[in-house]
């Protein structure tokens, strides 16, 4: 018998439907993945099943949980199930723990108030949960004293303490690097091994592949394709699914290695620290026109700091960066992770680009030519930065840099906030820029596959001694 069965779930805002009828069922021991890009309605589907939709959205449909029948249009009916039948894993665990309460107490209170254990029992149980998850001794820490991975595990313990058999994870790997992503997937699967149900909502193909089970692909509020995850990912029947899977960096064709042009910069013996702790030391490399240097490493290892050091925005604690002679002061540029934050937010894009063009003696024709080359519609220029999609704005940011005729671009996770298809497009344009404009690029990404298939040279900043986190396999093993 299914653990959970949802039939004809729809979501609408006023009279506008934003999620067309979707049905799904969750079986014990078999994970279900809902895959989709931003705006596909995948999170809305999850929220409709949990009864947590924002007030201005209305859901319809039926949800059967064991022998209970619920109406999606009446979200209040779902409330008694939270924590007891359905456990919801938060998107960003760091933000999901009360900042003013010690981590273990947030698990203890669930054991006591939701499962109904006595005070001492609840405390013992919470401590045991922490031990199982490799968080021994971290119970008295406040959330801001936990690393991202530790917060994630503490949040999982808190969500599961109520004893729910069904786990719903909405984008559980948002903002995590590859190593952490696998750790989370293993944790989720370990939960499943206890005979529960698992529903994972994600845009992350690697996570989907690792979770396995069955899959529903959503696009713009409609189901595109369903089937066993492995079958869908290996042999997609729909064009959209094929594009989506082809856009996964794991499936990219490797870029042809470029021959180096004139040298642009030489870095020797670079070191930097943050708050007294050394981030990296003794890094030496050089970069030439047309080449792409890929930098990888887990979050917090100092990738972005390295880029800022090369740009001269942050002084290195040792070593130096030598720019080739004859380069203009503005020859070194930066492409930001969040393009919206990198534009003056009160000015139209047209105004901003014209200012840059005028400052650097470029004409309107150059803007028009670049707009065309980067596949951007002229109408976008009339808008302000926050009214343009992330992919388009990142291309406009690239355009703005090209007006300066840069020789070096530091691209700081330029696609980490973009959907896979858009990500591939932007990275392709970046590679093309390196070749056509003859500029050197330093590309930072948390995704080793993306860097491996794009860069000519690689630099890994994996620190020798990682933090307290234990390996995912150990955690998964401890749980079983």
């Amino acid at each position: 018998m299914s653990l959970l069965k949802a039939e004809d779930i729809t979501v609408s805002q006023g009279d506008t439907p934003i999620l067309h009828p979707v049905s799904l069922h969750l079986e014990p021991g078999e994970p279900l993945v809902i895959l989709g890009e931003t705006g596909s309605g995948k999170s809305l589907l999850a929220q409709a099943i949990m009864g947590t939709l924002p007030r201005d959205l209305a859901a319809r449909g039926r949800v059967a949980l064991g022998d209970r029948l619920l109406d999606a249009a009446r979200p209040d009916g779902f409330r008694p199930l939270w924590g007891r039948q359905i456990a919801v894993l938060p998107q960003e665990p760091w933000l999901s723990l009360d900042p003013l309460m010690q981590a273990e107490r947030q698990v203890t209170e669930t054991h006591r108030l939701v499962r109904g254990l006595g005070t001492t029992e609840a405390r013992v149980q919470a401590a045991a949960d922490f031990d199982h998850l490799g968080l021994t001794g971290a119970g008295h820490r406040y959330p801001h004293e936990l690393s991202g991975g530790m917060a994630q595990r503490a949040a999982i313990a808190a969500a599961r303490a109520g004893g729910a058999r069904i786990v719903i994870a909405d984008e559980p790997t948002k903002g995590l690097d590859a190593a952490r992503r696998d750790e989370v997937a293993d944790l989720l699967l370990a939960e499943l091994a206890r005979g529960g149900g698992l529903l994972v909502i994600t845009h992350d193909l690697a996570l989907a592949r690792r979770v396995g089970g069955r899959m529903i692909v959503l696009r713009e509020g409609r189901v595109v394709e369903t089937g066993p995850t492995k079958t869908v990912m290996d042999a997609p029947t729909q064009t959209y699914t094929r594009d989506l899977i082809a856009a996964d960096p794991d499936n990219w064709a490797a870029r042809d290695r470029q021959t180096a042009g004139a040298p642009v910069l030489t870095a020797t013996g670079l070191a930097a620290d943050r708050g007294g702790a050394q981030l990296f030391s003794d890094l030496s490399f050089d970069l030439a026109e047309g080449r792409i240097l890929g930098v990888t490493g887990p979050s917090g290892c100092g990738k972005s700091t390295l880029g800022d050091v090369v740009l001269g925005l942050v002084p290195p604690s040792a070593g130096r960066v030598k720019r080739s002679e004859g380069l203009a002061p503005t020859a070194f540029q930066k492409l930001y992770q969040d393009p919206v934050a990198a534009f003056p937010r009160h000015r139209t894009l047209k105004g901003t680009l014209e200012d840059v063009a005028r400052r650097h003696g470029q004409t309107q024709d150059r803007i028009d030519a670049l707009m065309h080359r980067l596949g951007l519609a002229p109408v976008l220029l009339l808008r302000k930065p926050d009214a343009v999609s992330g992919g388009e704005l990142q291309r406009l940011a690239l355009l703005r840099l090209l007006l300066v005729r840069p020789k070096f671009i530091f691209a700081d996770e330029p696609t980490s906030r973009l959907d896979p298809i858009t990500q591939k497009h932007v990275i392709d344009l970046l590679c093309e820029t390196a070749a056509t404009e003859g500029c050197a690029i330093m590309l930072i990404s948390h995704d080793p596959a993306l860097v491996a298939r794009t860069a000519d040279q690689m630099l890994s900043l994996d620190p020798a001694a990682p933090n307290l986190d234990v390996t995912p396999t150990r955690v998964a093993g401890a749980l079983q």
Binding site: P329, Y336, D338, A341, A342, P344, R347, L401, V404
Partner: protein
């Protein structure tokens, strides 16, 4: 403590328009009123003391037989003028010093923020009272005292916003693209500050008008026979039973003016 800055949040359009309309109505009464019905705010006629409205005095007469209407109009020109002058001085000083402190950082910043924090610990009315005792002339004293009190808020707002803006990727990008401080101020900082300045100015004007009226009410502000809102209220308080309209006129006008300014400003968030 320097981090706790109240960020003004612009109010909805409807609320702001209501506020603007209230302020405008009061100002029309103050500026156009005496033109429509000519009269002298100082002329006494004891025979008419506390008598009701008539054509030459639409709001009746006070205890000395002076036209309330003309005294009110005069009072409604006096406080807003002083308040506006003080707000302009304070706003300009706060803007310049705030941007300067944020841009320079280091000791400049530390000295200015220490000074601002110390002023923050002192009740505004106290500073105004002391300035009134130092500076010759009550109106000038109010202007000096209120400017001294009000610049702190403008300074803190400007400084906090400028610091945040200067540290943003947008400004970093603009600088990398080769633009100088003038361009950064014009395209990044000013658009962030301007709406806040307007809100802070409306609050500041309300604060100043309240201060002038409060001190007038406890006999340490404007001196009789100057028509001033607080002073008028305290003078007319003993005659409440005989002439309620006489007392209500300055009370209602003051409330309308302050409410209008508050609505115009919008509310603030911590």
């Amino acid at each position: 403590m320097t981090d706790t800055v109240m960020i003004p949040r612009p109010a909805g359009h409807a609320v702001r328009w209501t506020g603007a309309a209230l302020v405008a109505a009061v100002l029309v009464l103050a500026l156009i009123g005496p033109l429509a019905v000519p009269g002298d705010p100082f002329a006494q006629s004891l025979l008419k003391a506390l008598s009701g409205p008539e054509a030459g005095a639409p709001l009746g007469y006070d205890h000395l037989g002076r036209s309330i209407f003309h005294r009110l109009a005069h009072a409604l020109r006096l406080s807003p003028t002083i308040a506006l002058a003080a707000v302009l001085t304070a706003g300009l000083a706060g803007l310049v010093l705030g941007t300067f402190a944020a841009a320079r950082g280091g000791w400049t910043d530390r000295v200015l923020i220490t000074l601002a924090d110390a002023l923050l610990a002192l009740p505004g009315l106290l500073l105004v009272l002391i300035m009134l005792a130092i500076v010759p002339g009550t109106a000038l004293g109010f202007w000096a005292g209120l400017s001294l009190v009000l610049w702190v808020e403008f300074f803190r707002l400007t400084r906090a916003t400028t610091r945040e803006t200067l540290a943003s990727p947008a400004v970093q990008a603009t600088r990398l693209l080769g633009f100088g401080p003038t361009y950064v101020f014009r395209t990044h900082i000013w658009p962030e500050i301007a709406p806040m300045m307007l809100t802070a100015a409306a609050f500041g004007t309300a604060t100043a008008i309240m201060a002038i009226a409060a001190l007038g009410f406890v006999h340490v502000g404007m001196r009789a026979p100057t028509p001033e809102l607080g002073l008028m209220m305290v003078e007319l308080l003993p005659y409440w039973r005989e002439a309620p309209l006489a007392l209500l006129s300055p009370v209602i006008a003051t409330f309308a003016l302050l409410l209008g300014l508050t609505l115009l400003a919008g509310s603030r968030e911590t």
